[in-house]
Symmetry: C2
Subunit: 218 residues, 2 copies
């Protein structure tokens, strides 16, 4: 598949590496063509890798992954172009964190709205699926690096888009029985707000290399 990865940070590069490893053609998008991190990534990732502007990546892609910082995502997606997102699966993995001097981080959007909902509203013809934002990049692409299998969440308004994303997650090593469909895109409030617990758990444990596993009663 041709996949556009928007964002050149750790999350974008980690996902792009894994996608190339799986045989996909990946174009990494950033604001300016020739972004240093993107050029460097292309050099290391080989023949299936290319880079360009957000619009280049959006135009190239059959499926788009938003791996930009949450606070910059709507601008990045506008730059990618609504026409380049229309009809396509748009996997939103971003967290809209805001950092403060001397106070805990907060979410830019929460409670009665979510980043994924804002993206879906701004790009009604895209098929937004929220996933992956509840684990650190290294765990996204190597779920078996944890001591037991753990859960991942998906949500979105389009059932076929979710099914396609679940298939992609399975190729990353996630077990289909561990991927929980939380419902429509409003459900993204759940995993997005969970981040505030995740941050405290990371602090308490001293590592981001963890995830949660649901345990049920009989």
């Amino acid at each position: 598949m041709r996949i556009g990865v928007l964002g050149t940070g750790v999350v974008g590069r980690t996902l792009a590496d894994k996608l190339v490893e799986l045989g996909h053609e990946v174009r990494m998008g950033s604001r300016p063509e020739g972004n240093e991190a993107a050029v460097e990534w292309v050099r290391s990732a080989g023949d299936l890798a290319s880079e360009g502007t957000f619009a280049d990546a959006g135009d190239f892609a059959e499926l788009v992954i938003n791996a930009t910082k949450g606070g910059a995502s709507l601008d990045a997606l506008q730059a990618a172009g609504a026409e380049n997102l229309a009809g396509k699966v748009l996997v939103d993995v971003a967290n809209a964190l805001e950092f403060h001097e001397g106070a805990p981080p907060t979410l830019i959007v929460a409670n009665d709205d979510s980043l994924a909902e804002r993206i879906q509203e701004a790009f009604p013809e895209a098929k937004v699926v929220k996933t992956f934002n509840t684990v650190t990049a290294a765990v996204m692409v190597a779920p078996d690096s944890l001591n037991e299998s753990t859960n991942l969440f998906v949500c979105g308004n389009d059932a076929r888009a979710k099914a396609q994303v679940i298939e992609l997650l399975e190729t990353f090593g996630w077990l289909s029985g561990d991927i929980i469909d939380l419902g429509d895109i409003t459900a993204a409030r759940g995993p997005e707000m969970y981040l505030m617990l995740w941050i405290r758990l990371m602090g308490a444990q001293g590592t981001p290399q963890f995830n949660i596993r649901l345990v049920r009663g009989e």
Copy 2:
């Protein structure tokens, strides 16, 4: 120990039952003395059980549990009386949920504040410890009803108060290694905001009988 349980709902009654079973003297507090649910509970719970106003329960208690609805907690605690809470451990198990017609529930306070912080701020001489709000009442008192051991979170500003609460949790069946200290009272934002994921998980699974277990890497 003499324990005051504020609130006569399922959470309050479930915790009060367990505390009586463990041999504590429990006074259930509600707005009016002679609250039907409280009187009924006293009848079923035996000699260690009593009931009264919020102030009666606060006055009686060495340790107070806030099991009122989150939206009513500050009023209930005012009624219990700052002088009856001063110097005592105040275990806050409440969730400040607001329900809406045709839209998902929201939290009354979230993101840059939390219910537990508001309580601590309103009652600076109480030693507020947030815990238990991440599981349904039946799981609070029977962690072994789930198929594996799971995690519980505590946070608060007073280390001795947290240690005392952890001891109490252990008598409920929680394993000390599974109880995670998230930090000071601002950390309550984490478990309180997690509730929005919990609600979606309950919906996806069709049961509130579950909890999460942290899985780490090597």
